[in-house]
């Protein structure tokens, strides 16, 4: 089970903010994702307006694949943690998912 997939699948990115030590992705349904570990993006394109095709969670990484073929990958390796959390997600109905 991957509850993040349940919320993000077919959801589209409304906006993205690069903050001091985190990335904030806001989705059109009103949910918000904060990424705290290092993030890599497969190519230098904007993800705003892109629909999420798949969310893959493993011990090593969180990957969000968009329908444009763009992939956002965040490391979940122990050495890459900057705090107790790798990401936090607040759904449009208030559910809080944290890893």
């Amino acid at each position: 089970m991957n509850k993040l997939n349940d919320w993000l699948l077919d959801n589209s990115v409304k906006g993205i903010e690069f903050l001091e030590d985190q990335i904030h992705i806001n989705f059109v349904d009103g949910s918000n994702l904060y990424l705290y570990n290092p993030v890599a993006i497969s190519r230098n394109d904007s993800i705003v307006g892109c629909k999420v095709l798949q969310v893959i969670l493993s011990n090593e990484s969180l990957k969000i694949l968009f329908e444009t073929g763009l992939e956002l990958k965040m490391s979940l390796k122990d050495k890459d943690y900057r705090g107790p959390e790798a990401f936090s997600f607040r759904s449009s109905n208030g559910e809080i998912i944290v890893l």
Binding site: M1, K3, D21, N32, E95
Partner: protein, 236 residues
Amino acid sequence: VKGNPIKYKDPTGYGGVGDAQLLADRVREATKSDVTKAYGQKGWKDYEKGEVIGLVTGVIDSVVYALPKALGKDTLSERLEQQRENKKSAPYIQGYEEGYRAGETAVAAVGTVMGTAKAAQLATKGPKPVPVSGAPDFVVGPDGTTYPVPRGATGPTPVVNPSGKRTGTAYTGGSGGANGQVDTVRLMDPTPPRGNSPGYPNGYVKYENASGQGVNPHTGRTAPNSQSHHPIRSGE
């Protein structure tokens, strides 16, 4: 009427304190009968002693360990284990458990009454209706540190990991801090040291705005991730 078991009669017919008292009396008599039957008169005395100590301990633990209990700490089991280690008798431990649970219930009831009274008081002062949240005004860590719960927040609601396992507790939908932007307080389970994270062996507290970004609990202004996790200290 002689032989009539009803000691209290509620004139309103709606049921009230008298009925509750009658029920409590009957439960107590049944408990006394059971304990005396099983352990004799001395056993009942032990039960009553344990009940008093358990009641006091239950009240104290519910206040002092409010935060760890919210995080799932089973203080009653630990206390019962202590009684067994201290070679207390079976009826004493039975009474202790009943008293402890009564103490927990009493503290919860006082909190609810206070929250309701406060909401009613606030509702009369302003045009906006104030919801009765049921959330406490603050939670207390094991070392005595108090963590305020944002005004008007509701909860507790679970915080889960992507697998659905509960990893913390949150009170959400409040408006705390100087700018009113503190929406949520999260009380999180312990995490191990990894990467630049020192590890939080007793868990941590995080305050957030409505979108989930970390905020300073006093100012309500957004805070970097590196300053958003407040370690819960053990108190030892």
